[in-house]
Symmetry: C2
Subunit: 267 residues, 2 copies
Amino acid sequence: MRNLPIGVFDSGIGGLTVVKSILKELPKESIIYLGDTARVPYGTRDNDTIKKFSVELTKFMINKNVKAIVVACNTMSAVALDEIRRTAGKIPVIDVITPTIEEAIRLKGTSVLGVIGTRATAHSRAFQAQIARHGKHYKVIQTACPLFVPLVEEGLVNGKVTELVAKDYLEEINKSNADVLILACTHYPMLSKVIRKVLRRTLKIIDCASPTAKYLKELLNDQNLLNLNKSSPELKFYVTDNPDRSFEIANIFFDGKFPGKIEKISL
Amino acid sequence: MRNLPIGVFDSGIGGLTVVKSILKELPKESIIYLGDTARVPYGTRDNDTIKKFSVELTKFMINKNVKAIVVACNTMSAVALDEIRRTAGKIPVIDVITPTIEEAIRLKGTSVLGVIGTRATAHSRAFQAQIARHGKHYKVIQTACPLFVPLVEEGLVNGKVTELVAKDYLEEINKSNADVLILACTHYPMLSKVIRKVLRRTLKIIDCASPTAKYLKELLNDQNLLNLNKSSPELKFYVTDNPDRSFEIANIFFDGKFPGKIEKISL
C-alpha cells in the first residue's frame, strides 16, 4: 500500500505547480498526474459539467490504483469535492482549498483576504464559507479571473497582454484593504511574476501548492501511507491533449528541468 | 426532404454569427444549432481531438435528421472536414472556408490576404492551400489569435483588455501590405468593433457568415432542397454547457432579438 503512487489531477497543466511542491516535500513518492487538456478550462463551465468531468478523472485514478488523490484544482475542489470523495470511496482525497486557507489564516495580521480564481470557484463561495468557520472577523474580497487559465495554457505567462489582463483583474483587490492574496487556482502561480508586478506591494501572496503538499505529507504520515522504500519513485504525467505544448510550458515552469515525459491518453 | 432542418454546429456560440446570416438569406428554413460549449475552445487542441469532437457533433446532426450540415467553425473546416463528410455520408456538408475565400478573391484589388484564426486553423495551412489554387500571385499573411475565442465566450466583446489583445495580434498584419482581412473564425465577428478600431483603415474586413449563407442557399437550390413550405420554420439552439450565459452573449450579438431559447444537452 505504501509503495502505491499518489494520484494528482487538474483540468490542465496548472496542477503541476502542486506536483512541484509535492516532489520537494515528498521526494520518495511515486506520482501519477493527469491534466484534462482536451477540455480545459473547467472554471468557466457549469457545476454539473465540472462534476461529471471530475468523476471521470477520479475513476482514472482509481484504475491506476493510487493510495491517495490530490485534487490539484480549485474549481473541482470548490464544486465537485463531494462527488470526487463519493467516487473515490476509501481512497483519501485532498483538496487544495482547506490547506491554503489554513496557511493564510496562520499568517500574522491576516484580516482581509483577497481571493482570485475561476468564475466557478468564485460562484461556489467555497472560500467564504470555509474562511467564515475560522471567525467572523475575517473579510473576503473575491474576483474571478476567467482569462488567466487560457493565458497559462497558451504559455503566455508574461508579456504586455498578460500584464494588462492581470492589472484589470486585480484592480479591486489593489484598491481594497486586503492584506493577503490567495491564488485560488493552480494555474496562477505560473503567472506569479506578472501578478507580483501589478499587485500592491503590501499584499502577501499565497498559493495552494506548498500548503497542499505539506497537508498531504501529514495525511500520509497519519495514515501510515508514506513510502519508506528506498528505490527511486516513478513519475507519470498524462494529458488528454497537447502533450508537446504541455511539456514545453511545464518545462518553463520547472526551470527547464521537468522530471519526466508527458503522454497523451483518452478518457 | 425539403422541410427538414439545416444542421449548423460550432465549438461554441461563435457559429451563431453564421446562423444570423442564414436567417437573413433563408428565412423559411428550419435550423438546428449545436455549440459544444462544454469543450470549447477547439482551436487550441490537437488535430485528432478536433476530429474526434467533430465526428460526435456530426452524429448528433445525423440523429436529428438534417438535410444539410453547415460546419460553422473554421477550425473544424480546416482540420476535420474529411472526417465530417465521411460521417455525414449522403448529407451535403458545407464548410466556412471555401465560400469566404471565394468572396475575398472577388473583391476588387485583392492581392495580399490577411487571415486571422485559431492556432489549429493557422497550423493546418488550409487557407494557404485553397488560396494558392486561385493563382500564384496571391500572398497570405496568417496570424493565430488563440485568446479571441475565450474572450468572446466570456462575453468580453469590447473593452480595454480585448482591444489590447486585438492590437497585439493584429500588429503584423497592420504593418504588412495586406489589403483584406479574413476573420477565419466564426467567433471573431463578435469582436468586429474592436478589430475595426485597431485595424489599419485601408484594410477591408471579410467574415465567413454572409458568404457561407449565400453558398448554402445556392447548394440547397441546386439540390432541390430549399424549403418551399409557407409554415413558419423551427429554430432549435443547443449547447453542451452554459445555456444561460450562451443566451446572454448570443442576445447581445442579435441586438437583443435572439430568435429562440438555448437548451443544454449531453453528447
